[in-house]
Amino acid sequence: MQGKSSWNGTSTAAIAVVLLLSAGCAQHELRGSGDLGVIVERGAGRLQVVDTTRQKSIGAIAGLGDLSHASVVYSRDGRYAYVFGRDGGLTKVDLLRLRIERRIVQSGNSIGGAISQDGKLVAAANYTPGGVRVFDADTLEMLVDIPATYGGGQRAKVVGLEDAAGSRFAFSLFEAGEIWVADLSVPRAPKIQKFRNIGRQPYDALITLDGRYYLAGLFGEDGVAMLDLWHPERGVRRVLDGYGKGEQPLPVYKMPHLEGWAMAGHLAFLPAVGRHEVLVVDTITWREAGRIQVAGQPVFVMAQPDGRRIWVNFALPDNDKVQVIDTETRQVVRTLSPGKAVLHMEFTARGETVWISARDDNRVTVYDTATFERKAELAAEQPSGIFFTVRALRFGF
């Protein structure tokens, strides 16, 4: 009798465990995350998770707050997206379980962030209060608060926050015209190096794919501030100084955005501010290597992963176009119309396709980068940013 009842108990428990496991398996197949990504649906506060192999959406995650300007970095295993929301929300999202893992509201207004070289620290760039806050990547516990204080004690908005080698983060202070490099080898005791008078109103920055050069674009004057992170003792150097040639700039309706995608080989392709131009800089000599006339004021200037072509989208009133430039001839080889209000473009890891969002047409279009054919279209509500997990493997993304 005793034997029979214990058999019943064990088998019931075993059946329960098997059912639970089956339920889990049915919802979430065993799969990698390397070909996944997210599309930000800015009005809905929602992320769509997409499979770039199947070119379709596999689910959506709501409850991410104000995503009207959202930026994403990935955990080093490509499984979790850290979403920085406009309202200061920082949400860790599980792409495989399609759910929010952790969420905090860490500031009043935030623009983006970065993840450290070893994947242990997530840093947020804040407008309000101006500064950088650094969190444990697992738990989102805040480890250190770095106020962006300058001059007479005011706090500047932080822009262009990028990860660099050795647990460092480099970032710029918009109102202050400064670049800071914070070494967080001991996270709770940051060592900060400050570079002052680097130029007027740095609006964003990029770090080259090798993590060596930090380039901050300037809004208040024509030029780019460059810091060699292998030799910070050399200080900040001005490149492309006065590229506007003294001409009255056009009104800037949307700030350009900089990221490591600017690089094609040793050339950097950068948006001119207030001009219908893409600027080319040789990163060996740091001299201007040319400029390319384009259809409008560039917002994103992005090289394909193989560096063969540069794709450019634009601010109002040209934000329904994308132009493609051949890097060998420096000519515009194609002008595309992906839809109304093209907000972002993202290449798959080896660049066979590029995904382009059209906010006012509620769609993301997948283009073949060799033939420019439309391969797929995904419905999305006011889509803005698109971020693929390949970013987990790169500096500055």
């Binding site: 009207s68 609006y203 009104p251 949307k254």
Partner: protein
């Protein structure tokens, strides 16, 4: 006398029509402006208008600022900040309408 009356009536009518145009934009244009402010001004001021690179444009943030000052900032921008001139996209009537709506609480756009 009659000519003067007609003249006065004509002027009065023109004034009335002029005022009507300043206060009343066509609904379609109003909808376009709501979307422009939320989505495109929102690039810098936030979709919720709670600020970003640019300051907040909520009634609380704008309290005490004259509508005429806001209108002129919208149309001609500012040399001291990153605010561009929107004259290429907006008429005077558009800018007046936007300034007035910002001060009282800007409509939602979906």
């Amino acid at each position: 006398m009659r000519r003067a009356c007609v003249l006065c009536a004509g002027v009065a009518l023109a004034c009335a029509v002029g005022t009507a145009f300043a206060d009343e934009l066509a609904p379609a244009r109003q909808a376009e402006l709501v979307r422009l402010v939320r989505q495109d001004c929102g690039s810098c001021h936030g979709l919720t208008l709670k600020g970003g690179l640019g300051p907040a444009l909520t009634p609380a943030a704008l309290a005490g600022k004259p509508a005429s000052y806001l209108k002129s900032l919208i149309l001609d921008g500012s040399h001291r900040s990153a605010m561009p001139a929107w004259r290429a996209f907006l008429t005077e009537a558009d800018a007046e309408w936007i300034a007035a709506r910002l001060l009282e609480g800007f409509p939602d756009a979906r």
